[in-house]
Point group: none
């Protein structure tokens, strides 16, 4: 590695570090006080940088929120759901989706709060930004249900789109409840419960 490369790497990493610091700080602050009540100065202070520095890495306060969402969605879908391809059984796939969903958000409460509360707290966000990533996510679930129907594992008298929404809604509610709960419990294990009920239903056969 040449000196220049080293410097470049060092510089990039400093840049990345600072951007990350601001990013993390923003998640914390937004989670604690809500987007509108959070001041850019709060984020800067939590990140250990000057107020103005925030604007070297992000164009605006709003862009920070966008970035939080984009980055999280990226990791959420990109990394996590790729492993699903390896799973054959649609039921297993759904179980794994539920696990990943709940484990991911259960591992970072602040991020979960921002996701459940802030990103949803804005119609604009919901329609303009989350939709892209969210639709993709919902589509993965839908396709899995499709597969299940084709494989004969799942009932054919249900609409995959609706079922996907229900599955997602169930997971989502688990997270919201977990966030608002006064008691502290691990979120991941709820995946099994959700899957069990979603697949088998509540009624006795």
């Amino acid at each position: 590695m040449s000196r220049n490369q080293k410097n470049a790497a060092a510089t990039r990493s400093v840049v990345t570090d600072k951007r990350n610091a601001i990013h993390r700080a923003a998640v914390e602050v937004f989670a604690a006080k809500g987007y509108f009540s959070s001041k850019v100065a709060d984020i800067a202070s939590a990140a250990g940088v000057a107020d103005g520095t925030v604007y070297l890495y992000f164009k605006s306060k709003e862009e920070i929120l966008h970035f939080i969402f984009d980055r999280a969605m990226e990791e959420f879908i990109g990394d996590g759901l790729r492993e699903l391809a390896a799973i054959k059984s649609p039921a297993e796939k759904l179980r794994r989706v539920a696990e990943l969903h709940l484990e991911r958000l259960g591992a970072d409460r602040d991020l979960a709060v921002v996701f459940q509360v802030e990103l949803r707290g804005s119609t604009k966000f919901m329609s303009e930004f989350s939709r892209a990533g969210f639709a993709e996510y919902l589509d993965i679930i839908k396709k899995t249900i499709d597969e299940g129907q084709k494989a004969g594992d799942f009932r054919k008298d249900i609409k995959p789109v609706v079922a996907a929404k229900i599955f997602y809604g169930a997971l989502d509610e688990m997270v919201t409840n977990w966030i608002l709960s006064k008691r502290s419990y691990p979120l991941g294990p709820m995946a099994a419960e959700v899957t069990k009920i979603f697949l088998g239903g509540v009624a006795v056969k």
Copy 2:
């Protein structure tokens, strides 16, 4: 009706009308722009009154939001769910809950938006205000599942609390999707879909 009574009635109805106008206007404005981005002047203007008049009927902008929530919850739980007592079958009860939930919110898109987006968009609200009413609502579902288990209609290997959350989460997601959807479709009929899947599960028996 004496003159005085007439006058009193007229006066009361004027007062009520103005308060209602502001209330309705606030729902519209909050739905369109979000609570924080809505200015009190927007509400006043939408209600056709002067800015200051808003403060003759509500103590603050925040109180308007509370009022929207309280009033809606009142109608939601109070009027609607009382009829459930008359229904014997737990499965029927759940179906009716789903219908009421979706029909109610499906009948007033603005109110639905405020409910789904604004009331949830504030951790403070979620913990301080909605919780009381929300917990009550969730409890009604849970108790119904309890009954179903005791009656032998529902599986005993599921936790009623978790199942209740899933049911609620499914309904909630239907509403959110309906709100954000570009296409326009009736929300009420989704109740049948949700109940079918919730009761019967997705998997083939």
Copy 3:
């Protein structure tokens, strides 16, 4: 007295009563909270009338303050100081001025507060309004000192205008101190003290 006259008298007295009630209420409220912090609604409420009624008797909040001052000055100078003409000795006259000044204000603490604090709290007032009455008051004192000098009772090496201001300032400070004092004591008796020192001086002869 004809019927009309009776009615007119009754009407006038009602008018006067209400105007007086508002006047008294204003003195109380201004004394308690200060002119700027007092709301017209406070005054109306203290006077037992509707907000709008205040404007049937006074053109504006400011006019109420003017009226308080004018009325007080009128009584202060008009009624009180006329009796001075009967007093021959300039020293006795000053003693009487001091007595009247302190007894009057000492008899109505609220009025005293408004006088000392509010009327002085506005340069505009001090220059535009109080000046007329105040100058007249000061002039009475000055002329008395003049007389005293001419009669050989008072030293000729002092300027009557300056001495008058000192006398007034001394009285004024008595009132201010009395107002702000936590302890309750009669203000009238201070007149003797002030006169003694003003006439005889502090130094040993």
Copy 4:
């Protein structure tokens, strides 16, 4: 002086300059329009800064008034009256108090206006803030009169507290008259007049 020291000094002086500019501007504006009628925007504009800048140096409009008072009292009592210790004769001390009082306030008409009019124009201020400093000031005069009595210079049949109030009231009235006067005259020389009358009295011996 190192570069850093220079910069630090420069920085400090800029900070001080701006704070001073706002302080001075506030005195001017308050003197001209009165506290309540002065807008923060007026002060900012008079100081040549943006509205928001005022809040970088003062917490609120009210704090500016406090600061004006505190700073002035500090200089008034702190610097000025310490030299009194060196003066032996009680009569001389009083003369010097009068001189300092009138010279100080006579040197800054705006400050004098704020002192005479605004600080007195608020019961709250009079009781909460000025009292401490004011009581101290009055006490200095009282103790001087005490001394004079013990030294046999002053009559023993007068109450030092009352005499002190009279002396202060006389000085205070000089200032008030000077402020309100249309003619322009130096205030300092009035000190001699006041002292002469206070010590020697008006009456012929």
